[in-house]
Symmetry: C2
Subunit: 219 residues, 2 copies
């Protein structure tokens, strides 16, 4: 009928969560040290149905968390970048896929049990919940321009540079994150360009020219 997801998935999915920066050192300190694994572009870090347990720290690159409908439409619920932790799930098995975007280095954090660990994880989980609810507002109540503005503002806040954004993911991933099509993403980028709000040095590198205008659009 309607809304078609851009990306037809071959198979995998992952977990969920967002990280709380403050708690990350605590978690890492309590984890048993593990080597960093490299995941090639598109490869699954974990998948739906797989047993959950460890957390994952992104050392470099990016990760997407996604879920599919029966007919292959895809929703990306979150992106994770260097320094961020993901992999939360209900104790038991994963309900989503976690996949590398353009190649990523991932460190596994095998958590010891204990009160401190539980507190740190709770804090992370609650933070993720808050982010998830914010994203529901974007998905349910914002138009395409507002969605993309919100996405860009989020990226500026999570990355080092205030002005320059290097998009790790292709348009189709942005589309599936925002609940639109990749064509719409492309068109909105065009509008933001002609409005002099952003400038594009290349398809993957965005320069923020007017962060106030962008913030206003984002809500």
């Amino acid at each position: 009928m309607l809304i078609q997801s851009n990306y037809r998935h071959p198979a995998a999915v992952a977990a969920n969560m967002h990280f709380q920066v403050d708690e990350t050192p605590t978690l890492i300190a309590q984890a048993r040290p593990c080597a960093v694994s490299f995941y090639a572009d598109g490869s699954a870090i974990y998948g739906q149905g797989q047993e959950a347990g460890p957390l994952y720290l992104v050392e470099f690159g990016a990760v997407r968390i996604c879920r599919l409908t029966a007919d292959g439409r895809r929703q990306i619920s979150a992106f994770y970048f260097a320094g961020e932790v993901f992999g939360f799930e209900s104790a038991g098995e994963h309900h989503f896929f976690a996949e590398s975007i353009g190649g990523a280095g991932i460190r596994v954090l095998r958590m010891a049990h204990g009160e401190h660990t539980a507190d740190a994880m709770l804090s992370l989980a609650l933070h993720g919940l808050t982010r998830a609810q914010q994203h529901m507002l974007v998905l349910g109540r914002q138009n395409a321009v507002e969605k993309l503005a919100a996405f860009l503002v989020d990226l500026t806040q999570r990355q080092e540079s205030e002005k320059l954004i290097n998009l790790a993911m292709p348009r189709v991933d942005i589309a599936d994150y925002l609940g639109v099509t990749l064509e719409t993403v492309s068109r909105v980028f065009g509008k933001l360009k002609t409005s002099r709000i952003i400038r594009m040095n290349s398809a993957k590198q965005i320069e923020i020219l007017d962060i106030d205008a962008l913030t206003d659009l984002a809500d």
Copy 2:
């Protein structure tokens, strides 16, 4: 209809627990007993910016969790019914509103600190996160018919009766939960009626005639 202030034992409400069924008794056992408060239709149980801390158990009635955009658009991120627990937030202050729908009895659960409490809360938070992600898929990738079907299927699974649904909330709340307008909700109800998938005894009472068809639509 109203079960006024009669405390329902956890075991008795376990059947319609939306959150992790197993953990609710644990939480209640660890909470210091508090009286049940009544919140009139539309009144706030807590609001944005307010300090978070306790959890809340719905004794009767229903609750909506919502957030507004700057220009007044609203997104409801979750409903909670009798026997369910809500009030999770990042430690600190609430980022959303919790409001009574049509009058609700709420018991405050003031949690002790400790490992068991943290584990139980973590479990609840992770479950909530999984639900949030599922709802993102609905908001971002499903059309109006699929959205409403998913909503009805969810209700049948959370309420006692398999066939009869008593909608606690008005059409506008359903609309704001599903990210559509109330007119669209009404029109989709009409389609489901003419398709013989549901029947409406009144605007608030829905009879499921073909749960398989509904489940198929929901995905």
